[in-house]
């Protein structure tokens, strides 16, 4: 148990198009991680597909970069497509 590593779990739900992060599991290898993920995150009929990724493979941004990374986008409303009139046929956007 002490040597088990952490895996991040992604589930694609029945009606979902993409896999969504739902949490993490401990496991000794990827195969076990997949089984544990099945048992922890798909017990209530949540999913049709599972990904597990070693948590160590994730490169994350840090908290002190927050202002530099994210603040500049706050005042750029023109980046939202809210100024266009969408034809009905386009559907979800």
């Amino acid at each position: 148990m002490a040597e088990w590593s952490l895996y991040e779990v992604f589930v694609r739900s029945k009606h979902g198009l993409n896999h969504k992060h739902v949490g993490s599991v401990h496991a000794s290898d990827p195969a076990m991680a997949l089984e544990n993920a099945r048992d922890l995150y798909t017990r209530r009929n949540e999913g049709v597909s599972l990904w597990v990724v070693p948590s160590s493979a994730i490169t994350a941004s840090t908290g002190d970069e927050k202002e530099v990374l994210f603040d500049p986008s706050e005042d750029k409303v023109y980046r939202h497509a809210s100024f266009y009139k969408l034809p009905d046929e386009v559907g979800h956007m």
Binding site: M1, H26, S28, A31, M32, E35, N36, D39, L40
Partner: protein
């Protein structure tokens, strides 16, 4: 015994075996070695209890005495229980828990594969639903046997000890008695010789991959569960499992 009594007797073995193993696994709730394992074990346990309910309901209908699934589970004493002896054996360490599960899952899997083609439609339907769950149970327990067997020196030793400890209860899984034979002959249950071969074949294959040594096929075996002759453990399991129903019959308010 009439054909109907034979069927009841056979189904009660399936029901009781699922029920008792499910109860045994539930003892690990809050005590499993890892959170992930706990969730997985409880999933397996609840699958088994659910399957037991399906078999009990059919048995209750067949016997037509007005009993229901709950009464069959909670109001029969040990000598009326027909579960396989391996299901009542204590959890031990995790290697023992997984050895027990693996031996049972292999038997369960091949039994259900036979029952899916049962001449009794109701049996075939229940089995088809259960087979999906048990296919996964078998995959999990096989993986654990391989991981522990082919793991560290200590995990190998413990896994081998678990196999050796429980081997004596495996004869009952594959040694057909009159009921098994008649159920097979009626096309209701699996061919008994094939079940034996399939069980031995898969167990040996997995143990070999796990670098573990099986015991001989002709080793001395405990029998009796199918006839209601149990090891000392069953009474304690029932005492805990049936307490509420016995002390507060038909308790409706908590």
């Amino acid at each position: 015994m009439t054909d109907k009594e034979i069927l009841q007797s056979y189904l009660l073995r399936l029901a009781d075996s699922d029920m008792i193993l499910g109860q045994r696994l539930c003892e690990l709730c809050g005590k499993a070695p890892a959170l992930e394992e706990e969730m997985a074990l409880m999933n397996v346990a609840l699958d088994l209890v659910g399957q037991a309910r399906n078999w009990y309901e059919y048995v209750a209908e067949l016997e037509g005495k007005g009993r229901d699934a709950d009464q069959l589970a909670f109001l029969r004493d040990a000598h009326d229980y027909r579960n396989l002896l391996i299901t009542e054996q204590p959890n031990g360490d995790y290697a023992v828990t997984m050895a027990r599960q693996f031996f049972y899952d292999v038997w369960h899997y091949f039994t259900l594969k036979g029952l899916v083609n049962s001449s009794d439609e109701r049996v075939a339907g229940i089995a088809a639903k259960a087979l999906k769950e048990v296919t996964y149970h078998l995959r999990r327990s096989s993986e654990w046997v391989k991981r522990l067997g082919d793991g560290t020196e200590e995990s190998h030793r413990r896994m081998q000890d678990g196999i050796d400890l429980l081997w004596r209860f495996t004869g009952e899984l594959i040694q057909a008695d009159d009921v098994d034979q008649q159920i097979a002959a009626a096309g209701i249950g699996p061919d008994t010789a094939q079940l034996t071969n399939d069980w031995r074949g898969l167990v040996k294959e997995v143990l070999q991959e796990a670098t573990l040594t099986p015991q001989p096929d002709d080793a001395w075996m405990y029998l009796g569960g199918k006839r209601g002759e149990h090891t000392e453990h069953l009474g304690f399991i029932l005492a805990e499992m049936q307490f509420l129903q016995r002390a507060y019959p038909d308790a409706k308010v908590w």
